[in-house]
């Protein structure tokens, strides 16, 4: 419990530092934050109104305090550049990015786990060597290249899935949801699978040499059970840590996937907002990202103890 509270405290501190820095940087990088916020090409009176509304003449700390106060009431402000409340923008764009991320992780794990297990089990065999080369290839391939290849072969040539992706909710039409998300999710998922295959394979090889695995074998446990239950569980820590770390990176990758497949997600919007100095949108999205990344890492920290009794035991002794 104490550990959880300690981590929660860290979570809040990181969130405050990150969001404050983002606010300061966006303000410093702007010649006239009020005009940027007002949308650029507007009359001076409108700029002055925005300046007053968001108290942009006040010190940063006061502006930040106001922003936090509004955040608590879930009022992220207004994007004059898009003529849309930031809340509405979030509602519109959060789910597409969420699903791209979730399906990318799902695809990554779906490919990585069996591949890593079999590669570790048949270490240095033909399959292991082939997969090693393949994962290197995907590791060295940026998402944009994967996007181009998927788009050209799967989208344009074979016409299996759309390259102009629409957001369709999973609960509205699962098949259309799948069709629209498959290419953007694969764009990110393939890269993730390569990282995770290598990571998990290395951990599994170590684990398979452990005493408890030897004991399990000696007791006549089936290789399948040894691999999928005992070895995998003991080797999953690095994988889970990597998933948590990749959450931040996924947003970066999502920008590519969203832009390339015209999926209206939050990463695409963040880039646009940064280019336009749409300050409140930048603050809102980075705040959200900070919450997601820190929260996932917090959960993972707590989850370690669940999957590895050694950690639970060590914390208890402490």
């Amino acid at each position: 419990m104490r550990y959880a509270l300690q981590r929660l405290g860290q979570f809040i501190l990181v969130f405050l530092v990150v969001t404050f820095l983002v606010m300061v940087i966006t303000r410093i990088g702007s010649k006239d934050p009020a005009r940027d916020l007002a949308g650029g090409l507007v009359a001076q009176e409108q700029v002055d109104e925005v300046r007053e509304l968001y108290r942009l003449d006040e010190p940063f700390v006061v502006q930040y305090g106001n922003w936090i106060k509004n955040l608590v009431t879930l009022d992220f402000g207004y994007s004059y550049a898009q003529n849309q409340s930031v809340n509405d923008m979030m509602k519109q764009r959060l789910l597409p990015s969420f699903f791209i991320g979730i399906w990318a992780i799902f695809i990554g794990l779906l490919l990585a786990v069996p591949t890593a297990i079999y590669s570790a089990y048949r270490r240095d065999g033909a399959f292991d060597k082939t997969m090693s080369t393949t994962s290197f290839a995907f590791l060295s391939m940026p998402p944009i290249v994967i996007a181009v290849l998927l788009s050209f072969f799967i989208g344009v040539k074979l016409r299996w899935f759309p390259v102009d992706s629409n957001y369709v909710a999973l609960w509205d039409n699962p098949w259309q949801h799948f069709r629209n998300f498959i290419l953007p999710s694969f764009t990110l998922g393939l890269g993730l699978s390569a990282v995770w295959t290598r990571l998990l394979r290395a951990d599994l090889i170590n684990t398979l040499q452990s005493d408890f695995i030897m004991l399990a074998r000696a007791k006549g446990m089936s290789p399948r059970r040894i691999l999928w239950v005992h070895a995998l569980r003991a080797s999953a820590l690095s994988l889970i840590t990597s998933i948590a770390i990749q959450m931040g990176g996924l947003i970066g990758g999502a920008v590519v996937a969203e832009q390339f497949f015209a999926m209206p997600g939050i990463g695409d919007r963040l880039v646009f907002a940064i280019q336009q100095n749409d300050l409140l949108v930048v603050q809102a999205i980075t705040a959200l990202l900070a919450i997601v990344v820190v929260a996932v890492n917090l959960l993972v920290d707590l989850f370690y103890a669940v999957i590895d009794p050694r950690i639970r035991h060590a914390r208890a002794i402490k």
Binding site: G39, V50, Y80, N83, M89, S151, G155, D164, F260, D278
Partner: protein
Amino acid sequence: MRHRTKRARAASTVGAVIIAFSLIATACGGSDSSDSGGSSDTTAAPVEDVTPVPGGTLIIAGEAEVSNPWTPAAIQCDSYCQLRARAFYDPIAVVGEDREVHGWLAESITANADSTVFTIKVRPGISFTDGTPVDAAAVMYNLNATSGGLLIKPATKDLARNEDGTLVMESIDDMTFTLATGKGGDAASPVAWPTFPYFLTTQLGLVASPKWLEDVKAGTAKPDQPIGSGPFTFVSYAPGDKMVVKKNPAYWMKDKDGVQLPYLDQIEFRVITDSKVRQSALESGDVDLIATSDSNAIKPLSENSSFVWTKQEEYGEVNYLLINLAKKGPLQDRNVRCALGMAVDKVALIDATGAGFLAPAGGMMSPGQEGYLEDNGGPQFDVETAKQMITDYESANGDVKVIYSTTTSATNLLTAQYLQTAWSAIGVDTEVVQIEQSKLISNALTGADDFEAFGWRNHAGIFVDQQNFWWNGNGANPPPQLALNFGRLSDPVIDDLLAKARSEADPEIRRGYAEDINRQFGKECWTLPNSYTKWAVFSKPEVKGIGRTPTPDGTSTARDGAGFPGQVYTHALFKAG
């Protein structure tokens, strides 16, 4: 401050074009509809051969999201915005294939003898989709509101205004009113303006429901849920993603066979900013129709017989070097400007950046435009002379350094790198700055410190009068005031010729003025033109009716891309088979 009522308009990712088109550009960018493509297979089947099939949904993809409030006064309307806006708004008038102004909501537009007062009679029996009637009061309300827009006002400077800033208009009866001109807004100094009706075909002429506009002002209606009297009604809008419109079942127009327009039940307008992705979306069958000005997308699609290529290559924009003439420094010197022009081999530049697809520009008016010249006498490619001119300047004034700003696209970066190399060859150091498009426009508008030389695209249109407020010295407001005369050009010769052209009714004489303006640009090197833009609309073969929307008077068809290359009218589109 109410967000929905006072939303400031954003810069958004509109092209340099954007503002350009909306304001001024009256009639331009003609589309040779259903023109033959690179091969005969790309020729559109004549629509007469196919009986229009009412119903169906069309998916159209365009290049930019203006992310509008969609009120005619506030939109910063590029061609894709115009395409969408004309789906739910009717304009007062349109340009026909015959390049004449045809009344749309206006039954007639007549000028007095000296073209200083225009009488506009509104077509009877039309209603907005909220049930309010389209009458003289509604049109006058819109003209007043729209002409006061931040970006429209400079274009309507010569319309007479009352003390409260409203236009001098007089109601004759329920359906008729007059509109007066006045030098700089002064009603006592009428201006002969024979080509003014063309302005009613632009953003100025888009008519929204006054009730809705009032509600928007009061904060009781949303500015992004437009209500007009157009062929389609608004269904949904997600900025940067898509807009959906459905058929207006009570639309007032019919085709020549008496079938009610529009034919389509619904249109989904998608925004796909990347031209290659837009191309892929068409190739994969995800969208039915796209518009593009990227020659790297036009070239391969034009060679693909699976699609119909509708060219829009006349009256388009010029790609050129826009120079901030108000900024102290070497670019205020004519010889330096001309030397920069002489350093550039336009053909090589086009080969490097535009797949060799564009035509080198010999002036500031594109093919078809009033004042077009194959060669306006501007600088010709001559590296040695250019080098000498720079050396001469530097010996008296010091080193020449140029800040060249452009947008973040790969093609524009390539252009920047080409120019950097070419100017380096004549001894000019160039700093390349890439910034987001709307910021680029904003910097030009306000004359920002770092605005020195910009890669720019602008000036579509038919008449030179449409360029008046871009080039007139009376619009060269000093920084940081907003100026649509981005370069702060103030040339008495050009100002005089622009004034003469505005008031000249004889096309031949006006053409002479326009050509002289073009030559003056070449002589002084006020700008450095590189190439003429080519636009294209590509569609699936089953998409019919492009360029076939009839004018209400039945004498012509509405000309696609008139003022806004890349735009098409959606009234007569349908899917065959």
